[in-house]
């Protein structure tokens, strides 16, 4: 267990105070990933928008891409989604929720040491299509599934 050295936190706090960070605060955040945080893609308001920002063109549905999720989510705050690609040479997997204000939920770089099989939990504001987008060898493949979001509890 290691935690952030205090001096850098202090620095970031000061930076934030000066208003140098953007609304999403990513400009000066340290980067672990190879790529910069893809603001344009995460700002996408629809699947088409986000795909465009990700450079995905000529996408095609593929049986080698799987989206595993229940048909109905009892609560939109937590919707488990598993994304699997059997496409050889998969390098990226994205999970997109068409009707969310921020359509792109997650973007995984699939390196040589990784199996193209990831599970996470997403928020869904309403019933929507959820798409798994896979990039392999410069080509793009998708699988889409509608997940219904229901109102649970007493609504009070």
């Amino acid at each position: 267990m290691t935690s952030q050295p205090l001096n850098r936190r202090g620095f970031l706090t000061r930076v934030a105070a000066l208003g140098l960070t953007t609304a999403l605060g990513t400009t000066l955040a340290p980067h672990l990933a190879r790529a910069e945080w893809n603001k344009a893609a995460f700002d996408g308001k629809s699947t088409a928008d986000a795909m465009k920002a990700l450079g995905a063109s000529g996408t095609a549905d593929s049986a080698d891409v799987q989206i595993l999720a229940s048909d109905i989510a009892e609560n939109g705050a937590v919707v488990p989604v598993q994304a699997v690609s059997k496409v050889p040479g998969t390098t990226r997997i994205a999970i997109l929720v068409d009707k969310n204000p921020s359509t792109l939920a997650a973007l995984f770089d699939v390196g040589p040491d990784m199996v193209a099989d990831v599970t996470t939990r997403i928020k869904m504001g309403q019933t929507s299509n959820v798409t798994v987008l896979v990039e392999a060898g410069g080509k793009y493949f998708t699988a889409t599934k509608e997940i219904k979001v229901t109102l649970g509890g007493c609504g009070g």
């Binding site: 999720a69 009892e74 609560n75 937590v78 488990p80 219904k148 649970g152 509890g153």
Partner: protein, 271 residues
Amino acid sequence: MTRRFAVGLATCLAAAGLVAGAARAEGDKTIEGIEAYREALKDGNPAELFEAQGEELWKKKAGPKNASLETCDLGMGPGVVKGAYAHLPRWFKDTDKVQDAESRVLTCMTAIQGIDVSKYVAAKWGSPEKDELNAIATWISGMSKGDKVAVSTAHPKERQMFELGKRMFYYAAGPHDFSCSTCHGQEGVRIRLQDLPYIASPKGAAAGWTSWPAYRVSSGQMWGMQWRLADCFRQQRFPEPIYGSDVTVALSMFMAATSNGATMNTPGIKR
């Protein structure tokens, strides 16, 4: 219960017959979907994050006496946490009261750490104070995971608490005439898509008692039984039950003792 329910609604029941076939097919699909959803959630319960916090709080020196809670007696002797939750609520000699895990922790915070717990009792749900209490209860409950519920009603005060809880369960009041039993007084019904355990039955009591504290995915919050009960009362349109008060312990006693023999599955995960 079934009878009084049926009387006034006979006409409506006839209407239901008309469409039951179509509704059932649709309903089955819905239930299947919900089952799959619940199954997927079980894989990683964020309650674990709160258990870790609770353990840390238990072991951390705090309060005017700068002491940890590690000598707190939860009924199995000072410092024994393993298995304690499965035997709570119970009567404690030092307080001459029946206490659940959460009210007992308040006693220990007062006696061992010298903390004035009134601020914890008064604090709103979701406040840092209540979050601490919830985390501690979560950890304590996890230390009984897999144990059989074994709550005693042998002591007269335990017996009394059980009976008072049972009576409270059926107490109807407020603008909606709701009691606990309005929703939890019969087998196999639900609110919206939420299954409602019939808490006066051993199976239903177990479904409730053995799965709280639970992580609520709807709010991303960790709820102990005290919070669970408080929110039931809120939706019953009742005033707010005071944290750790007899009325909350009595209901817990009724539920826990009714579920005796069931296996603790805490902390749980819920919608």
